[in-house]
Amino acid sequence: MIKAVAMSHSVAMSHASLISEGRKSAGRMLIIVTSILLAAIAIFQILDASGVITFGLTDWRPTLYAYVVWAVSVGISQVMMRGEAGHKALFLLPALLFTIALVIFPTVFGFYIAFSEWNLSSFDGQKFNGLDNLRTLYHDTYFWNALRNMTFYVASVMLQYALAFGLALLLNADIRARKFFRVAFLLPFMLSPVAVSWMIGKSLMEFRFGPLAGLARHLGWDNPAFFATPWIARFSILALDAWVWLPFMIILILAGLQAMPKDIQEAAKVDGAAGWTSFWHITFPLMLPVSVTTIVLRIIFQLKLADIVINTTSGGPGGATDTVSSFIFREYRDRSNVGYGTMAAEVYLIIIIIFITILLNLVGRFMRREAAQ
C-alpha cells in the first residue's frame, strides 16, 4: 500500500530481503481475509438497508467495526510483508486511515448534494439539477461581494503579522515581568468566538454604554458607531478577529525568536540604527520559515471567518463585512438551501486550494532564493 523508502537513515539496512516467504504470504493472507470480511459485511449491510434481505440491522456499526479490524490488519500485514518499510508505514497509517474514514463519506456525499436542488422545506426532497447551482453561483452578487471582502480580510493578515511580530519582539526583549506579559498576551485566544462577539462586539463596543464607545467619544468622535459604515465596520470586525488570533501568531513567532541561537539574538539586540539593520539582515531572514507557517495558518483560519461576522453584523451594513463563510451559512442554515450552499462551499474550497497552493509555491520559490543569497 504505502511504500516507505529510508533515505535519511544511512544505517538502515534493507530488511525486506530477510523476510521469509512464509511471513510475507501470511501477511498477504491476513489482508485478503480482512478485506473480504470488510467487503462482505458492507455488502451484507447494503443489502439489508436496501431491503433485499431483512436482517434488521439498525445502524452501520458492524461495517464500522469491520473497517477498524481491516485498518488494524493492514498495519499488521504491512509489518509482516515489508519489515522495516512496513514499520515506517505504520507511523503514517493510523492518521491517514482515520482521516480517510471520516472524510470519505462526507466528501462524496457533499459532491452529490452540490449537484442537486435541495431545499429542506421542499416536499419533493432532493432533485439532481446538474450545473444549475454553478450557474446560479456565477451570477450571485452576494457570493462575489463576499469574495471581494475576503481579499481585504486576507490582505489584512500581513498587517496582523507585522503587529504580532512587533509584539513578539517586545516579549523577547529584556523586560521585567516577562511571565505576566506573556500570559496576558496569550489570554484572548482562550475566548470563544461566541463570547467575543457578544461580550466585546455587542457590549464593549456598544454604541450607548460600551466603554470603547465612551473612550471614542472622549477622544472627539461624536457618534462612535463601530458597525454602521462600511469601512469602519470592516475594521471593527477585523479588530475583533485579530484580537482573538494575534496570540496564536505571537506565540508562534515568539517561539521562533527564542529558538534562534543566543549569539545571534544578542547581536540583533544592538540598539539604534544598527539594530534596525541587523533585524532586517539577521533576525527577519532567519525567521522566514516560522513566518511562513504563521501566515499560512493564519490565512487558513481567516478564510473561515464567520462566527464573529454572523453575530455582530450579519454581514452588514449592506454586505460590507460579509464573508464567504457567513454567506454560505445564511444560504445553508437560515434558508435551508442545502444543495446550493454546498455547491458554494465546494467552489470556495477549490478557490482556497488553488490559492494556498500558489501561495505555498511562491513562498517556496522566495525562500529558496533567500537561501541562495
Binding site: 516507505a4 452501520w60 503514517l92 500570559v183 482562550m190 517561539a255 520559515p289
Partner: protein, 309 residues
C-alpha cells in the same frame, strides 16, 4: 539557558553607561507592552465584571466596581445556581451547566489526546521518511491533512448528520471526539512535524546502531525530546475543541452536549441577560485561563524547539 542569557544581559546592562536614548527606548517598550496587555486583559475583565452587574450597571456602562451604582450583584451567578445563596439549593440550570462542563472536558481532552497519539507518529513519519502513496509524495500527504482545515464546516452538516445517524454516533461523546480529532489533527501534525525535523538525526542513528528498532528509537529517544512540542500541540487543541460550537450544536442533544451552546442560548427573542451570559462565559473560560496561566511556558517552549529549521 535563560539564566545564562539573563546573566549575560545583566552584565551587558551594567557595562553600558546610562544614556537618554536607552531610557526613552525602555519607556517606549514598557508603554507598548502595558498598552497591549491592557487591550488583552480589559475585555476579560469586562466579561468577569459584567457577571456581577445589574441592568442599570449594564445600560450605564459602569466599569469600576464598588463606586457609586456598581456595588456588585450575584444576579448572573444566581441564575446559574452558583451564587452564595443558591449554591446549596436545587438548580436545574446549574446541573445543566456542570453536565455540559464535564462533557466539554471529556470531548476536548479526549480529542486532543487522540489527535496527538495518531498525529505525532504521522508527523514523525512525514519528517523522516519518504512515502509514496500512488502518485502522492510526502508533500501531497501533508497537504491532504492540511486541506481538512480548509472546508467551511457548515457544509459538513448534512453529510455528518447522515453519517452519524447511520453509525449511531449522534449525541455520543465518542462521536464528538472523532469529529474534533479530525478538526485538530492537521494542526497537531503541522506543529509536531516542525518539532521532529529539528531533532538531530544522529541521535536516532546512534540508537539504531545500538540495535533499537525504528519504533524503539522513536519512543525512547525522539518522543522525550519532542514532548514539549506535543504538549504545546495538545494545549492548542484543547483550546480549539473547548470553544467549538458548530458541531456541538449539530451532533449533540441530551447526552453529549457541551458548554458553548449554552453560552449562545443567552441571546434570543427576549433580549440578552448580559450578567448570565457573562457569568457563563466566565465559567467557560475559567479552565482555559488556568491553562494559560500555568501552562503558558510549555506552549512557547514546546513550539520553540521546532520553530527555526
Amino acid at each position: 539557558m535563560t539564566t545564562a542569557s539573563e546573566a549575560y544581559s545583566a552584565r551587558r546592562r551594567a557595562s553600558q553607561p546610562w544614556n537618554w536614548s536607552r531610557a526613552v527606548a525602555k519607556i517606549l517598550i514598557y508603554a507598548a507592552l502595558l498598552t497591549w496587555a491592557f487591550i488583552c486583559l480589559f475585555p476579560i475583565y469586562w466579561t468577569i465584571s459584567t457577571s456581577f452587574k445589574t441592568a442599570v450597571n449594564v445600560t450605564q456602562g459602569d466599569i469600576i466596581p464598588f463606586i457609586g451604582r456598581f456595588q456588585g450583584d450575584w444576579k448572573g451567578w444566581r441564575s446559574l445556581g452558583l451564587s452564595p445563596d443558591t449554591i446549596f439549593q436545587v438548580s436545574t440550570v446549574r446541573d445543566e451547566f456542570f453536565l455540559r462542563f464535564g462533557n466539554s472536558v471529556i470531548a476536548s481532552v479526549g480529542a486532543s489526546l487522540l489527535a496527538v497519539i495518531i498525529g505525532a507518529p504521522a508527523a514523525y513519519g512525514l519528517a523522516r521518511f519518504n512515502y509514496k502513496f500512488g502518485p502522492w509524495r510526502n508533500k501531497d500527504i501533508s497537504f491532504f491533512f492540511l486541506s481538512q482545515l480548509l472546508l467551511p464546516p457548515v457544509v459538513l452538516a448534512m453529510p455528518f448528520l447522515v453519517l452519524y445517524k447511520e453509525l449511531a454516533l449522534l449525541d455520543n461523546l465518542f462521536g464528538l471526539i472523532l469529529v474534533y480529532t479530525l478538526m485538530v489533527l492537521p494542526i497537531v501534525i503541522w506543529i509536531t512535524r516542525d518539532q521532529f525535523e529539528t531533532i538531530p538525526i544522529e541521535l536516532e542513528q546512534a540508537a539504531l546502531v545500538d540495535g533499537c528498532s525504528i519504533w524503539g528509537a522513536f519512543i525512547r529517544i525522539v518522543l522525550p525530546l519532542a514532548l514539549p512540542g506535543m504538549v504545546a500541540a495538545f494545549i492548542l487543541s484543547v483550546v480549539l475543541c473547548w470553544n467549538e460550537y458548530f458541531f456541538a450544536a449539530l451532533l449533540t442533544s441530551t447526552n453529549a452536549k457541551t458548554v458553548p451552546v449554552m453560552v449562545a442560548s443567552q441571546t434570543g427573542s427576549q433580549g440578552i441577560s448580559w450578567w448570565t451570559m457573562a457569568a457563563l462565559s466566565t465559567g467557560a473560560i475559567a479552565p482555559l485561563i488556568v491553562i494559560g496561566v500555568f501552562l503558558e511556558r510549555y506552549i512557547v517552549k514546546g513550539l520553540t524547539a521546532g520553530a527555526v529549521k
